[in-house]
């Protein structure tokens, strides 16, 4: 792959998915796109770049974007964000939404479904407190391929052993040889939709809780700021945003601020304009 080919792919991926590639990621491009070359019967990566420029190979652009997307995930990944959901967020919104009895959750980079299904299982464990509630989990990802796997809810033995307590495996999964499928009841709780975060997502509506973990790390600073600004607009006034352990809003947006008591949790920043005049005067 020539330097010009690499530069073209950097620009292409930045435009299509927001992925910001640095020169040291050249090996990653070569290792992940070589199988795409074989699939589309292209001899070299330069040939693949040429085909992208011509733009007459159906499915090639999507395949390149999906191949470069990192889909690493597992059930209850990092544990903390799920403890936070069960112990802090759910009690908070059970009180705050007691009138409307409606809760909307968005997993913005759902990958193969382990994150939304982890939340769905926690919700099901709390079902006695949610009787009569309308709870919706919207789960989106740029890759239609991973969303198909997510919808099927079928995982191998390795996948169900990473982070999923054995009691939940027994309770919510059905075994078929080496494969384990999550129950129809849990699958029905999640609404999967394809979505590219760098494009408009206002049509999804407003959410009480947004999980957007381990995706901003792949974007450059202006893209991170743009996505965070729009995530803030998609949050209810008292909504919650959870980012990955290596992600932050600091220096990227003034619309969101960290919850000092809960690492990884962010809320809408309280601006002077939104503070009632009497309180503002006391500051």
């Amino acid at each position: 792959m020539t330097e010009l080919d690499f530069q073209f792919l950097c620009g292409f991926l930045k435009t299509r998915s927001g992925l910001a590639l640095t020169p040291e990621k050249r090996y990653l491009v070569e290792s992940r796109l070589s199988p795409i070359c074989r699939r589309f019967e292209l001899d070299t990566l330069s040939g693949l770049v040429g085909a992208l420029k011509v733009g007459r190979t159906p499915g090639l652009e999507t395949a390149v974007v999906e191949a470069m997307t990192t889909n690493e995930t597992f059930f209850f990944r990092d544990k903390g964000p799920f403890d936070l959901f069960r112990d802090v967020l759910l009690p908070r919104y059970l009180t705050a939404r007691a009138g409307a009895r409606r809760l909307r959750i968005w997993c913005a980079a759902a990958s193969t479904g382990q994150e939304p299904y982890s939340l769905a299982m926690l919700l099901n464990e709390a079902s006695a407190r949610l009787a009569g509630w309308q709870v919706q989990i919207v789960a989106t990802d740029i890759s239609t391929e991973v969303l198909e796997k997510a919808k099927a809810g079928i995982y191998n033995q390795f996948e169900v052993q990473r982070g999923l307590p054995i009691q939940l495996l027994v309770k919510y999964f059905k075994q078929n040889g080496d494969q384990w499928q999550i129950s129809p009841q849990i699958r029905a709780m999640v609404d999967y939709r394809p979505l590219n975060l760098i494009k408009e997502f206002g049509h999804l509506g407003t959410f009480d809780i947004i999980y957007c973990r381990n995706v901003l790390i792949y974007f450059d600073k202006p893209t991170k700021s743009d996505v965070l600004e729009r995530l803030a607009k998609a949050m209810a006034p008292d909504g919650a945003l959870l980012l990955g352990a290596a992600e932050t809003v600091i220096g990227l947006t003034d619309s969101l601020s960290p919850d000092v008591a809960n690492r990884g949790l962010y809320g809408k920043a309280v601006s002077e304009a939104s503070v009632p005049p009497r309180i503002a005067a006391l500051r």
Partner: protein
Amino acid sequence: MKYCLVVDDSSVIRKVSRRILEDMRFRVSEAENGEKALDMCRAEMPDVVLLDWNMPVMDGYEFLMQVRQIPGGDEPKIIFCTTENDIAHISRALEAGANEYIMKPFDKDIVAAKFQDAGII
């Protein structure tokens, strides 16, 4: 340093488990069947038992039933680590008081995740 007893009739599995657990900063002892493991528990109760199911002399299930009866035997976290990967075996182990269940084959990530789920680390 926490103490883990590895109970498996395969010396290869014991060796692999020992390497993983020592990397995780556990003190490790080994037993090749449930009977020997019971004797070792009577001498010093471990914090964790990583337990195979099928073994000669005394299998893992019988060990689990017996160790829970001896003084202090309700304390160790017991993690099955076995090729008996069907839901019936898993359910039976949990009902008998196992804390977690690892389906072979396994690696360090799985052991670490399961130990975390069981509240050991």
